[in-house]
Symmetry: C2
Subunit: 190 residues, 2 copies
């Protein structure tokens, strides 16, 4: 039996995405995005939603660039911190003991400690309501070598990303492997 909860924004699992930018004074900043993910395969595009009042909003609009750093469970405290403090009030990298690294491709920094990073050039800014959705072309994907699998691609068991659960207001780790994608479903094919 299903219960209607009214208009609510629950998608499980949700990633924890740290948006990296330089502000007007060239200071690196990091913001935990409320919402985001991949939105197109070619050109490869990532999206993050940012409120117009946020420090990060003005930085993305000015520099036309941002990065998306995906922290591991080792940095869950810093990731949470980046979402509850404004870059106007604190140097979040410095307070959290984290390292901003300048992208070699776009005018934005990323979180050196993050195992996986998307480097994005701003393509679109879609005003949707309280959030503006920034869509960026992913011009590079960086992965810590310790996060790569035998196939040379990011291995979720080595990246160990954080799952966000809105209804629980909590963070989770990724659990056991269930099976192969684009394969398990063949059992049902007639």
């Amino acid at each position: 039996m299903k219960k209607s909860l009214g208009p609510q924004t629950f998608v499980y699992p949700h990633p924890v995405l740290l948006v990296g930018t330089y502000d007007g004074e060239g200071r690196p900043n990091l913001m935990t995005a409320a919402w985001g993910g991949i939105c197109c395969s070619a050109p490869p595009c990532g999206a993050v939603s940012v409120r117009p009042g946020r420090h990060t909003h003005d930085a993305v609009m000015a520099r036309k660039a941002f990065t998306v750093s995906i922290p591991s469970v080792d940095h869950v405290v810093a990731a949470d911190y980046a979402g509850i403090v404004s870059g106007r009030d604190a140097d979040k990298f410095e307070v959290a003991g984290l390292t901003p690294t300048r992208s070699e491709v776009v005018d934005a920094p990323y979180l050196e400690e993050a195992p996986l990073v998307l480097v994005c050039r701003l393509l679109h800014a879609f005003p949707l309501g309280v959030h503006v959705q920034f869509v960026g072309e992913i011009v590079d994907c960086l992965c810590e070598e310790s996060g790569l699998g035998e196939n040379g691609l990011p291995d979720i068991e080595k990246v160990r990303p954080i799952v966000y659960a809105g209804g629980n207001r909590a963070y989770y780790a990724v659990g056991e492997r269930l099976g192969a994608a684009f394969s398990m479903g063949k059992a049902l094919k007639r």
Copy 2:
């Protein structure tokens, strides 16, 4: 040490989202979205990316509505199947032994067996490249009563959603709880 992988679409964790629509003949269809998630808090909006050639693309454009069903780990085989077969070629609900339920609010069906469902009215169709991003206003959120926590909201430990890992080409479960969001980070506040 970070390795550049070039332009790649990796975000971990990624949800498994089943887009429900009625086609031109009124047949219910279910498609595993390549990409999607929440993109705005108010109005509450969800996004799914669909290739223009897909059966689901025409259905969303015609009915201006879609649902997003979030399957539990119990239905991982059916969820995978919905992504590798076209609704033009098969009644995926029937083949997978699943139940389409007509939304009472929009002109689209959802997966009865899914513990969590977003019911969406089409707001925008953004052509981004090989994918069109459909942004829908979430007009209702349905949750199986067995998936609700004590606070009346979807509990990720009861919903038991599927994590998709692109680099692994595999599905995973959600693992252990790491801590409270909007709280753990306060330890770093000065």
